[in-house]
Symmetry: C2
Subunit: 140 residues, 2 copies
């Protein structure tokens, strides 16, 4: 088990101090855009979409739907729109018959996926631990 040292804890607190100027509860939500931005980028479907787009440079709508297992047309379409609006992905439509639409990460999106990836890796390594905990806790 990787433990957190005193030093790391101090560093962590400093970082948190720095950001909590923005996350401060005394600020009305409109002064705290981080929450808003983060809620889009940390949405469970968005994460999967972004990770798959990090793996395949270009994906079409129905391929994405296949990979992001269980997502519905509506949700996929809506998430893609928001992710495009926020600058993570770009959408390219070709006027063919039948129409072809290609989605890919922007440079900005790639930067984000790098971070996301670090989180996802940690999740992967630790999910057995979490599941064991959950079992032991007995929450159904």
């Amino acid at each position: 088990m990787e433990t957190v040292t005193e030093n790391q804890e101090v560093t962590m607190t400093k970082k948190l101090e720095k950001m909590f100027g923005h996350l401060d509860y005394k600020n009305p939500p409109e002064l705290c855009p981080v929450r808003d931005v983060m809620s889009v980028a940390s949405d469970q479907w968005s994460i999967l979409i972004l990770l798959w787009l990090g793996y395949f440079p270009v994906l079409r709508f129905n391929k994405l739907k296949k990979y992001v297992y269980g997502i519905s047309n509506k949700v996929l379409s809506q998430r893609l729109k928001v992710l495009e609006a926020d600058g993570y992905i770009s959408r390219k439509a070709y006027a063919e018959v039948p129409i072809r639409v290609e989605y890919s990460l922007t440079d900005f999106g790639k930067n984000y996926v790098k971070r996301l990836l670090s989180l996802a890796e940690w999740m992967q390594e630790n999910s057995p631990k979490v599941l064991a905990n959950r079992e032991k806790y007995g929450l159904v």
Copy 2:
């Protein structure tokens, strides 16, 4: 604008390849616990709860409710339960009158918050960019 180099992109793909054995769409959901575990830990309320608990070593229910601005009793209570079950936080109840309950991060939770923090910092730095993008895109 921080750009992604070729090298970084190759590294990223390798990492993704490594994890996509688990995230593979051909696996039924029950063989892919990462998604499940991640959906808890990346929930927008859970993130805020964990970050605040990273800042204050110990917080009581009503303090948390104050800091995690806008959360309802029901959701806070439910998220705390799940986060405890998954091993991120611990709950300590004191048999006083009135009752006192203290929440804090476990070592496991601290490790996770470190990762979360890196993501949150990136969000903070880049949220202006995202908001500008959103505006330009004209999505209401």
